[in-house]
């Protein structure tokens, strides 16, 4: 799947089963495991519109509102397996695209947290422009002003 044809789009409720299917065996790059059944989560998929409706996306993100003007990136997931580099690139693409999309909304800040040092892919967040918020020890918090 060529990266320049992938779109980030909100996952409609009807496609949540596809999300659930995708998450089985996928790798969680950032955040915490999220349940596609949780209605308060907004799922985003990086997908090729040429693919059939039941095709798996290239990456998945989950977000939720977190205070006025702030959106929290709950999870960044991508396929696991042999093509780890491609999956990482797709996830990074998805986070970049999410930032662009959120900029057109009323959101003012995107935040993401990594449970502790060493867990999660901080480089992915940094590549997308999220900076480490200092002053916290237990949780590594990243944020970007939109």
């Amino acid at each position: 799947m060529s990266a320049d044809v992938l779109l980030l789009r909100a996952v409609p409720l009807a496609r949540r089963p596809v999300v659930a299917r995708a998450l089985r065996g996928w790798r969680l790059l950032v955040g915490t495991p999220a349940d596609p059944g949780q209605l308060h989560l907004q799922w985003w998929e990086l997908a090729d519109p040429a693919e059939p409706p039941d095709a798996l996306p290239a990456a998945l993100l989950a977000t939720r509102p977190s205070g006025p003007g702030t959106v929290q990136l709950i999870a960044v997931c991508a396929p696991d397996g042999e093509h780890a580099a491609a999956a990482h690139a797709a996830a990074a693409h998805a986070v970049r695209a999410l930032i662009e999309l959120l900029r057109a909304t009323s959101a003012r800040k995107l935040v993401a947290s990594l449970p502790s040092a060493g867990e999660g892919d901080a480089s992915l967040l940094a590549a997308a422009g999220l900076g480490r918020v200092t002053g916290l020890s237990e949780i590594a918090l990243y944020a970007i002003e939109l």
Partner: protein, 1051 residues
Amino acid sequence: MELRVLGPLEAFADGQPVRVGTPKQRALLVMLAVNAGRVVSVDRLVDELWADEPPARAIASLQAYISRLRRALEPARSSDDRSALLVSRPPGYLLAVAPESVDLHRFAAEVSAGRSLLGTDPAAALARLVEGLRLWRGEPLPDLGAGRFAQAERARLDELRLAAVEDRFAAMLALGRPAEVAAEAEAVLAESPYRERVWGQLMMALHASSRQADALAAYRRARERLDEDLGIEPGPALRQLESDILRQARHLHSVPAVVTVARPVEPDPPDAAGAVVGRAEVLRQLDDAIAGLAFGRSCVLLVSGGAGIGKSTMLRELSRRAAAAGAVVAAGAGIDGHPPPAFWPWAQVLRAMVDTVDPQALADAFAPYGNVPAILDPALAAVVPLPQAEPPGDPELARTRIYQAVVEGLQRFAAERPLLVIIDDAHWLDPASALLLKMLAATAARIVVAVAYRDTDLAADAPFVTAREVLGHLPTCVAVELTGLARGDCAVLASRVASHELTDSVVDVLYERTAGNPFFLTELTRVLVSEHAVDQVDRVSEVVPARVQEALRRRLARLPEQLNAVLSVAAVLGRTFAIDLLRKIVQLDDQTLFDSLDTAVVVGILENADDPRLLRFSHDLLRQTLYLDQGALRRAQLHARVAEALREHPATPSTELAHHLRQALPVVSPQQVVPLLVDAAAEAYDRTAYEQADALLTESLQLLGDEPAGEVRDHLELLVRTSLGFMYQVVEGYVGPHAAEHFGRMGEILARVRLEIGDLPALWGWLSFENAVGRAEQSVATARRLLARESSDWAAAVIYAHDGLSAWNDGELLRAREIFEAGARVIPAAGFPALPIIDWPTAVGIHAPLASITAMLGEHDAARRHLDAAWGEAQPGRRDFLFLYLSFYEIRLAFQRRDAGLVRDHARAVLTMAEHLGFPEYQARAAASLGWAEAVLGDVGGVARVADAIAGGCELTQLAEFALWHGEALLATGAPQIALPIVDEGLRRPLDVRARYARPDLHCARARALTALGRPDEAAAAVGAALGEAQAMGFRAAELRALAAAQTAAL
């Protein structure tokens, strides 16, 4: 809407404050407000606000903030409505507010008005100036940050404000208020100590307040300040004022005169005709610039436009004209390197000069600057007598020396000979070259500096961006934005490339595809010429030259990823596409999609169509580049997705659906595509586009030919061939060669396939054809065998209909009526598939023949009833051929009653429609029956019409019927001697199909002719033959006519 930028941004809508949002949004709105009513290009906005981001991300950010601003400024607007306030207009955005809605512009207007009143009405002037200055609430444009535009604009506004303060002092002095000026001027000078005019006003105010010593002391303060801080003396005006105060000059109380500067008269521009196609206005600007050189004027020409739009061509033309006018031309160009070599274009410029002029002249011009030309291009040392290289010193100083040397060396050269310096592809300039360009342009005298750049490829952080800003503000700058050629110019250019005049249709396609871009047009024409296809419209629509693709890819690479992805889908939809369809496929929410598409419009990739629900690629080559770059498999997948989405719209033309399915063939099966192609063929048939219908159906057969043999292929082939057979029966005649070919092949397939209800129309068509060629009995027997296991009413109806036809053809009218009536009784209300392509309700094929048969039996009321039943089946939908068919049955019924008036009326209607639709068989039949009616009604011209119809071509099987019309027409007009051989010829025809039913009336006509010719015995025999044959067939209507003829003969 009111916007205040002379201080922190404030926005008001209907008097209520608006929350504009983040600092970036505020900056964006300020940029647009400063330029209210004017388009601010995407490049400029990106350059000012996102200079530190890559172009694609910067454009995405801009897109997002524009969207946010729109929501903030127009909260009531839905995402479907186009913004009327923050308008997208290529190449950027425009804040559609009146300038007076922005305090900055109101301020400028008040100051301008005040200044214009100064000489005549100082009180009014003062009022306007005070009003303007009152709008200032603090530092102007604080929201804009520290970008280049912001700094320049702030400096401009500060200057404007200080000038307004000075004008205000002038008005106050004129109104005799020197004390106030003296007090306020001190405050202004504390802020701006180098404003000599204010110092002068302070001196004037003190002098007018009888404080001459203070006035002179003020002068001294001014002189000390200027000397200590800047090392300069006060200007002549201030010095003169001091002198005037010292000598008590009288004019100190008078108002200074207004000085006007007359513009020198310019010569008329020379004739702009030349090798360039079109561009008359641009050529005039070039000629102006060249003509100015003769007067010692300099000029900066900024030529912009997309790739291939003709910038380099214009520069070449400029070179040619400048050289012809005696100027030295030196050209260089930026190159696309990472990083581009420093000073490369300037080395080219110097080299070009050496190629043109005596190297000594160059050496003289650069003599004060050592061997600098050789530093730029070591090769110059070999041809230009330059001093030896000096030891390298401080790098910064060395670079400064290069700048100075090039600028001043070129100036020295230009002092001797007018010079044209050309820098092409400036969007690729290295930083040093861009700086040098800026310096030369700002100081050029007797030099035309022509710079061309691609506005579409100019990165926000390109070194040329700063230079362009500076060049654009120079008073000598002429900006030329090139757009596509007009259609007429495209015709000239393409014909020139092709070396012959191209047809209008080819030019139309070339113009449409290239949007007048000369490079695209030339490349496309060249490729077509090389393929000997330049006159083939289809080929013109397909080709995308590789060089064009490369240029377009560069442009697309600057767009945000998400937008590229959306555009790649749009490219599959076609050059003009429905936004709603695109939304269904990309599945983006409205706002996100709108933002993306809006950006594409603003950057010129897309353009608005007349219909607001549609968008269109600015030229088709762009769409094709996007399309082809996706790879065949993905294109096929997308076409399949488009077809799926289109299927949800019942109104989608089948041709469009078929197009997408056909393109999707690598991922969909022919079984999915062929039925759609058949539907598309039916649509083409409805539009009388028979060739297109044939092409679609033939394509279907080819697709099926590649499929493995089997039931599925057989059923589809039956569908396709039935369509072809019916269509050709209509357009070529019932038993024409194409119909024969397809129904013949169907016979083979029907013999082996397991029939399903979907195959019944094929069986119907085949049986009808077999009937028409006289093989009714065998074919019906075959059909019975094929349908042996099929017990549905529809299967029975098919058999009844064709069994009835067989009996009718065999001259068994009573049996035919009985069979058809049985058929009419079993026809179910629904469920039988309509006959393909002609979209014919099958029940009509039973009711209409039954009407004709009952009419022949003399049962005219029953005939009327059956034909009405047939019309009842035909009412729904638009079925032109069915209308013809049934109208012709009306003629038959009227003819059996020999009602010439009614025959004439129906025949006229049939003839008109048959001519319109192009059905030759029905034209001939309608013309013949109309001629017959006209003749019977006393118009002798009717005979010729019948004769023409026969000569125009009628099927042999119908000749007896035509002979009857002809003969009776001749008899009606009193020409029995001519009628007789024609009638005899009709009777000599073999008894094939339904020709036999003409025979009794032909005998009657013969009898009438013989009677008229005085041969009663033969006439009586003819009547006897008529009676005998009519009775044998049960043809009661003919029998009655024969009896009437017998009575006439007996008389």
